[in-house]
């Protein structure tokens, strides 16, 4: 089948970009019209992405198009798009979530007077993410990568009148910068070592696909690890995960967008896109898997003890991203991308549902919630579906993708499999805790008794996402590996039923335990917490990572800053001030000398003669 729509793939990012330009130019006078512009633009992108995906499903060839941007010496930098199965999948994910978030925000942000600014940022965010997805070379990807970072900064700090939001935005920007630096160095290294300085993915695939003959193993590992560092920063992997939970200070739709489709997915996508480099370096693969597994279980334990609904979800995202990295690290692009695909839907669903809850009760603390299920039926139901999907209960989407990762891990390393299974258990546990504390039981606060369901514009995306969360997993099951075949051209392999049974058992056990603790009360959670106060406190404080960073990096850097400022103030400014003061003093002295007093002039002349004589013939006097 011919590539009809893929030729217009550049329109997918261009539409939101145009919306951004339009909103920036005329935003203030548009208001609701502006929101419609953004929604329609994302709808257009979605339609086109779906058309391209459909075309690809029918077996169209890869499409790529690029033109030279800069030529210097023998090297050429190009700009272009690459439509493959991987990119078209990502396009669909991004545009679906982006469109639904746009629709949802119409209700959520209705009362915000900077709504058009919000939509402008969201549009730019989508455009940069789509550009990142479509980019056919690493440099272009890096540019969009940074644009994504800027947009996340703008959106997390959207409510800049809140100091926490400002701090969170800065934190997100600065922490991801560490990773971005790694990616930049990786790009530069690639540019240096690649034959012909080519940075496009096709050449990279060719070079590294042939056992990395052109580039030594050490450099390959270094490049892979640096790229992974970029992914760690963007995807909130340990140890750069700290920005992600704080990013909850932004508007909730943005949390959904960041967590499901755009920002954090970029890291996973990057690793998947440059997977050939990782494949060429076993050490890098092992690192990815280890970091992913550790992040998964690490974040899941933290999520158990958080009391902010969005923070629980944030740590859940970190954990699930760890899962994806684990999947990639054990060598299965299919598993990682599959989980990214399904996770995008149910995590967006969970965030949007959480936003609906927050919208209704105006608090984010789950200890103040409760009993909302009866009054917010749609939200509760959809949230429940999302939670079950996240917990990995069959036959929801999360189950299949998680199973794929666990199966791949089992094949590679039993330890990673165990970690994954425990994480699955913990995931089910904290999701049930969240669900029961928010929706079940009695209202803790009278004011919440009047909470009512959100408007249809907000619930409709929830329903759509819930439906997707249910069905999205069926594209790839152990018995029907169509998705993996389509994505990578190889049939995905499954290790039989062991992984499936363990995953299901872990999920169900977690749910049951959660039910016992938070719903039925068979296990007294106060007593449970009292028996291990240290652990609870450590988890509540998120393993003191923030404090550790504050102590090690922030304080020392701030101290360095003070020193530098003192140097600047005392030495540099001091030198400048000294020059000024000297000039002033000389001027004042000269003013005083120009008194018109003959005797003064004569005195100066006498001194001049004395100095002159001493200077010229001073030595002869002795």
């Amino acid at each position: 089948m011919a590539t009809v729509f893929a030729a217009y793939a550049w329109l997918v990012p261009a539409l939101p970009l145009a919306a951004f330009a339009l909103l920036t130019a005329f935003g203030r006078s548009l208001r609701t019209t502006g929101a419609w512009v953004a929604i329609l633009a994302s709808l257009g992108s979605l339609a086109l992405a779906l058309l391209i995906a459909g075309e690809r499903l029918a077996g169209a060839e890869d499409y790529s198009q690029s033109f030279n941007w800069l030529a210097f010496g023998t090297a050429t930098l190009s700009v272009g798009i690459d439509v493959t199965n991987l990119t078209s999948l990502m396009m669909v994910v991004v545009t679906v979530v982006g469109f639904l978030v746009n629709v949802y925000s119409y209700g959520y942000m209705r009362d915000d007077e900077r709504m058009t600014v919000f939509y402008a940022y969201v549009s730019l965010f989508l455009a940069s993410m789509l550009g990142l997805v479509l980019a056919d070379n690493l440099l272009m990807l890096y540019i969009f990568w940074e644009l994504v970072g800027v947009c996340s900064f703008l959106l997390i700090g959207f409510w800049y009148h809140k100091p926490e939001a400002r701090d969170a935005a800065k934190k997100a920007f600065i922490v991801t910068r560490v990773g971005d630096l790694g990616l930049l160095i990786a790009v530069l290294l690639l540019f240096w070592y690649m034959p012909g300085h080519a940075l496009d993915f096709t050449s990279i695939g060719n070079v590294f696909g042939n056992d990395g003959g052109a580039i030594s193993a050490g450099i390959t590992t270094l490049i892979a690890l640096l790229i992974f560092l970029g992914a760690v920063g963007k995807s909130g992997q340990f140890p750069l995960h700290v920005w992600l939970p704080d990013a909850m200070e932004g508007p909730t739709p943005i949390s959904a967008l960041i967590h499901a489709a755009t920002m954090v997915a970029a890291g996973v996508f990057l690793v998947a896109r440059t997977f050939v480099i990782f494949e060429a370096s076993p050490a890098a693969m092992a690192t990815v898997a280890a970091i992913g597994a550790f992040t998964a279980i690490f974040a899941a334990t933290i999520a158990l003890a958080q009391n902010d609904i969005k923070r629980v979800l944030a740590y859940s995202t970190v954990s699930q991203l760890g899962y994806m990295m684990l999947g990639l690290g054990v060598g299965s692009v299919v598993a990682g991308m599959f989980h990214l695909f399904t996770h995008a839907f149910f995590k967006a669903l969970l965030f949007l549902a959480a936003g609906s809850v927050i919208h209704a009760v105006h608090t984010q603390d789950i200890r103040e919630m409760g009993g909302l299920g009866s009054r917010m039926k749609t939200t509760a139901w959809t949230f429940g579906i999302g939670a079950l999907a996240l917990a990995g209960i069959p036959p929801l989407a999360g189950f299949w993708s998680k199973d794929a990762i666990l199966a791949a891990a089992l094949e590679r390393n039993p330890l990673l499999f165990v970690v994954g299974a425990v994480t699955a258990f913990l995931t089910a546990l904290y999701m049930s805790r969240l669900f029961y504390m928010v929706f079940a039981g009695k209202p803790k606060d009278d004011s919440h008794a009047h909470a009512h369901e959100s408007p249809a514009v907000m619930t409709a995306p929830l329903v759509v996402l819930a439906a997707l969360s249910v069905i999205a997993g069926f594209v790839e099951t152990p018995w029907y590996g169509w998705f993996g075949e389509w994505l990578t051209g190889e049939a995905a392999h499954h290790a039989g039923y062991l992984a499936m049974i363990v995953a299901t058992a872990a999920g169900l056990l977690g749910l049951y335990l959660g039910w016992l603790i938070w719903q039925k009360g068979t296990i007294d959670r106060k007593a449970l917490a009292a028996r291990m106060p240290g652990l609870v406190r450590v988890l509540e404080r998120k393993y003191y990572i923030d404090e550790f960073y504050d102590l090690v990096f922030v304080r020392s850097l701030r101290r360095l800053g003070y020193v530098l400022r003192a140097i600047d103030g005392l030495v540099v400014d001091g030198a400048v001030r000294l020059v000024a003061v000297t000039a002033q003093a000389v001027g004042r002295l000269n003013t005083r000398m120009q008194s018109g007093q003959l005797q003064g002039y004569l005195l100066a002349a006498v001194f001049s003669v004395v100095i002159l004589v001493l200077a010229v013939a001073g030595r002869r006097l002795w």
């Binding site: 120009q594 008194s595 018109g596 007093q597 003959l598 005797q599 002039y601 004569l602 005195l603 006498v606």
Partner: protein, 102 residues
């Protein structure tokens, strides 16, 4: 060894005393007088050298005569200026002679 060094030292002492007077005295007449003292110190040098110099010669005397003449002329003009200034400003204080600044 002759007395040349002693004469020169005396001249130096007188010169410096005259210079000090010129630099510090506020009364214009005293300043003029100090100036004459400095010129006299120079004259003393000239005459001392004319006798004790390497080649004794009367040229030093001639120069002394010229110097005295110039000093006399200078004193006359100086006093004249002083009187004119006194007429305008009713003062003979040198530190109020700040016409150069205007």
């Amino acid at each position: 060894m002759t007395l040349l060094g002693s004469y020169l030292t005396l001249a130096a002492v007188l010169f410096c005393l005259g210079l000090y007077g010129v630099l510090t005295k506020r009364n214009a007449i005293v300043v003029l007088l100090s100036l004459e003292l400095m010129l006299n110190a120079v004259n003393l040098n000239l005459i001392a050298f004319s006798k004790y110099g390497m080649i004794p010669s009367l040229t030093g005397h001639v120069f002394t005569l010229f110097t005295i003449s110039v000093a006399a002329a200078e004193a006359a003009v100086g006093v004249a200026i002083l009187i004119v200034f006194y007429r305008r400003r009713v003062t003979v204080n040198v530190d109020e002679f700040d016409e150069l600044r205007r």
